[in-house]
Amino acid sequence: MMVEHRPVLTFVTHATLILGALVLAFPIYVTFVASTHTLEVVTKSFPLLPGSHLVENYLRALTVGPRDVGATVGTMMLNSLIMALGITFGKISISLLAAFAIVYFRFRLRIVFFWMIFITLMLPVEVRILPTYKVAADLKLLNSYPGLIFPLIASATATFLFRQFFMTVPDELCEAHRIDGGGPMRFFFDILLPMSRTSIAALFVILFIYGWNQYLWPLLITSDQQYYTLLIGIKRMLDVGEGQAEWQIIMASTILAMLPPVLVVIFMQKQFVRGMTETEK
């Protein structure tokens, strides 16, 4: 690697980076500032300094909720959390098992199944949204947690990732385990699962954010406010027709919506990086 000692260059690169960071952070800052003022201040002017209504706005959002939505931000956050965690754990467990089957078992049409899973990578949720909706409706899954979670629970990406990881695990480990007298599921739980720990942690971060940010699917299948996720809630807060949107509450909800993914990234950053860069062998 080239190390250069040119002060001007250092200054320019730092200035560019700081500027970029500011540009990216500014909208979030504005959102935060707007969430600390009264509606009047927010709609009449464009405040750049935090106001004094922070606690009041956030408490109202969490406990009472905005007008016309019918659910508190607290409820919606809980819904979002249930959905995000459900999707995350579901995706991880299903992908682990699918990858385990594809890598370690020789069954009829194994390659066909692998390619079937792999090809679904090319089909985003949006493409299959109508049939999925029909199936969910027929199974009476509309307005329910299983309805929010199950249709999004299979993941070709995660399956593929675990498959690649399992293929790097030496065959001798499986053979040694057979000689030690353990069955296939024991091998899965005792050996493979602990070895995949770092990959699981990395996937957890990615999938949690994916689940939390789901928009189209929950928008389609929730009509009962009690099952709104926070992102849908924010959208509904804007649908006020002729009335006045409660911007300070919307902004507070937005900040709250950003919080869990940020926390997950902060707390799992170390595992995430390790999972992406190293494998335990």
Binding site: P170, A176, D180, G182, E280, K281
Partner: protein
């Protein structure tokens, strides 16, 4: 403790047969080394004994019981893998205890066995470490510990030393030998390293392309190789081969360059006038400037090994290449001519057609 019988075992992968019917009886407590170049099927044979590979035909019998259809765990064997195959996320202790836990052995007995094995292998201080915190030699010992605690009927080793550096390999070789003398467990050891084979094995099975070329004690295999493959494979540097003519009466050999050497006592009447292949090991020739039946050798490359000198060159007008191993240090000019005598008791003669040993 058990004897093992391999009875006419073959292995097919798809349509191609890679092992063509191997039989071998291994006595209780014996240390058998399966030796051969890479790709000769030696690991496949071992894996069939272990149960990791299906047996296409024939039988493997362990302790009087045909094990063809048994799972590896039911055969009461333990195996050391080339890459050790330790569970990376488990401590040394748990690695060794795992197989016993699977067999639902009581905790205190597991503990006792693991600590005992650790003591034998000098691993007691490392029981809480993970495999990645260990050196190659230590991992190797853990892999052996995992086998010892099981107290199996048969130990199987699949090239266990090939991932170690040269010095460690010598040390571990001695440790394996010592362990075997202490435990007296029937062992099958696969290697391509002839030094390991010679030093460890009570008997060797030399494999060539899916056939057992020869089975015998290390010295038997060295002194009376059954065919040209074994003769060329065992011994380093490899044996010199040259075409010779058996003289009328079968009493002497005519080498390239019109050199004659008598066959001491072992006349070959049936071969008179025919061609044969003569094999001479590099270490069975010596410098001899005066002797009556010396051969002229033209020096090519010289390798000084300190203890020995390897001289590569050729003999006769036919430019037959030959390598000689002389004790001590010798310095020769390139293209110099030296005279060598051959120890007549140590000649090997092979049939040029069948490649099998004649004398």
């Amino acid at each position: 403790m058990a004897d093992v019988s391999i009875r006419n075992v073959t292995k097919q992968f798809g349509k191609s047969e890679v092992i063509h019917g191997i039989s071998c009886d291994i006595r209780d407590g014996e240390f058998i080394v399966i030796l051969g170049p890479s790709g000769c099927g030696k690991s496949t044979l071992l894996r069939m004994i272990a149960g990791l590979e299906q047996i296409s035909s024939g039988e493997v019998v362990i302790d009087g019981r045909v094990v063809n259809r048994l799972e590896p765990a039911e055969r009461d064997i333990a195996m050391v893998f080339q890459n050790y195959a330790l569970y990376p996320h488990m401590t040394v202790y748990r690695n060794m205890a795992y197989g016993l836990k699977m067999r639902r052995m009581p905790k205190d007995e597991i503990d006792q066995r693991v600590r005992n094995a650790a003591r034998i292998l000098e691993l007691s201080a490392l029981l809480d470490r993970k495999p990645r915190q260990l050196s190659g030699g230590q991992r190797q010992r853990v892999a052996m510990g995992r086998c010892i605690v099981r107290e199996p009927k048969v130990f199987l080793f699949d090239e266990p030393l090939s991932n170690l550096d040269a010095k460690l390999r010598v040390q571990m070789r001695l440790e394996i030998r010592k362990l075997h003398e202490d435990l007296k467990i029937t062992s099958v050891y696969v290697t391509h390293d002839q030094v390991e084979a010679m030093t460890l094995g009570d008997r060797l099975v030399v494999m060539d392309n899916g056939y057992a070329a020869q089975t015998g004690s290390p010295l038997e295999v060295y002194e009376r190789p059954a065919n040209m493959f074994v003769a060329g494979f065992i011994g380093s540097p490899a044996m010199n081969f040259m075409e010779v003519t058996v003289q009328e009466g079968g009493q002497a050999l005519k080498l390239p360059g019109d050199i004659q050497i008598p066959l001491n006592g072992s006349a070959l009447p049936g071969w008179a006038g025919k061609k044969a292949i003569l094999g001479i090991r590099p270490e069975h020739m010596e410098l001899d400037s005066k002797g009556p039946r010396t051969i002229l050798f033209t020096v090519g490359q010289v390798e000084l090994l300190g203890a020995d000198t390897l001289v590569h060159g050729h003999i006769g007008a036919g430019q037959v290449p030959m390598t000689v191993r002389l004790p001590d240090v010798h310095r020769f000019e390139k293209h110099a001519t030296i005279r060598l005598s051959i120890s007549q008791e140590k000649l090997h003669l092979f049939d040029p057609e069948t490649k099998k040993r004649i004398v």
